[in-house]
Amino acid sequence: MASAPLKAQLTDLLNSMFAMDFLDEQFKELQMLEEASGPGFLAEVVTLFCGDAERIISQLSVLLNEPVVDFGKVDANVHQLKGSSSSVGAKRVALVCVKFRNVCQENDKEGCIAALHEIRHEFDELHKKFQTMVQLEQQIQVLDSKQMN
């Protein structure tokens, strides 16, 4: 089957993401949902998550650049990001969010800025992998549907 090498690549990618804690058990729930309902769901969810994360990270940057930081708003944003990342199975991002909330609750501006850098880094790594995942899935689908015709 023409898509076999791509499928192998995708499997390797996902396995390494699980092994390195980029993803956790919750992502497996989403995979089950995709298996039950058909392709496209994971791509949709991942895209939604990345959009949310980008938006929140930008917002956090703005908030932390204010002369007087509103730690309440910072916390609310991090809380949201923690929720989204937990729901999608983005383990490392979720863990950094926990750290972030802790320093935020201490009104530690420097700590927050450092945490934001870490989140940015973790998210960027994850985002690249998600993009590869979605591309591979799409290519596999195209090849598989050609095969069937």
Partner: protein, 194 residues
Amino acid sequence: MEIATQTPFHVLAVDDSSLERKLIEKLLKTSSYQVTTVDSGSKALEFLGLKEDQKSNASTFPLYQKETKVNLIITDYCMPGMSGYDLLKKIKESSALRDIPVVILSSENVPSRVTRCLEEGAEAFFLKPLKFSDLARLEPHLSKSKDVPEMHNLFKSKMGLMSKRNKRKRGEQDENLHETVGVTGPRLKLTPSD
């Protein structure tokens, strides 16, 4: 399109996050529920036919009717504006709506929050994210709704005494429902004692 021999359960899911709404919708639809999602407590009340603002006549949803009967409301706790707790209160204060079971979803396990919700009449409190294995624990709460007489038969058909119509499909879905995914974190489900 097949004609359903039995009406599926209709769940109204309330969450301000589009990602969460997508997840809940997919989870429930994959398990043969009918789902409506809204992004706020006030939209939920509007859908249910409770208008807060009497001045505005235009409603984005049709008034609550028998055909769109809701068997369960699942709401996020933390939402801007009207919280899940506020929504719960309004539903329980309404004579038309108070019998609809309400389940609260939260990303945080805060005992006082859980107690408050249960005391206000929530059927159960689940931790996010909602999983397949949680659905089995949701169903007993659906059965408390007085308005769905065929409920018992619907449970049976979902649990594997399959209807002729989509034997195989149901079989696959039931496999998923019964598979217990390993749970890593603490999960809390509290129900009021009868």
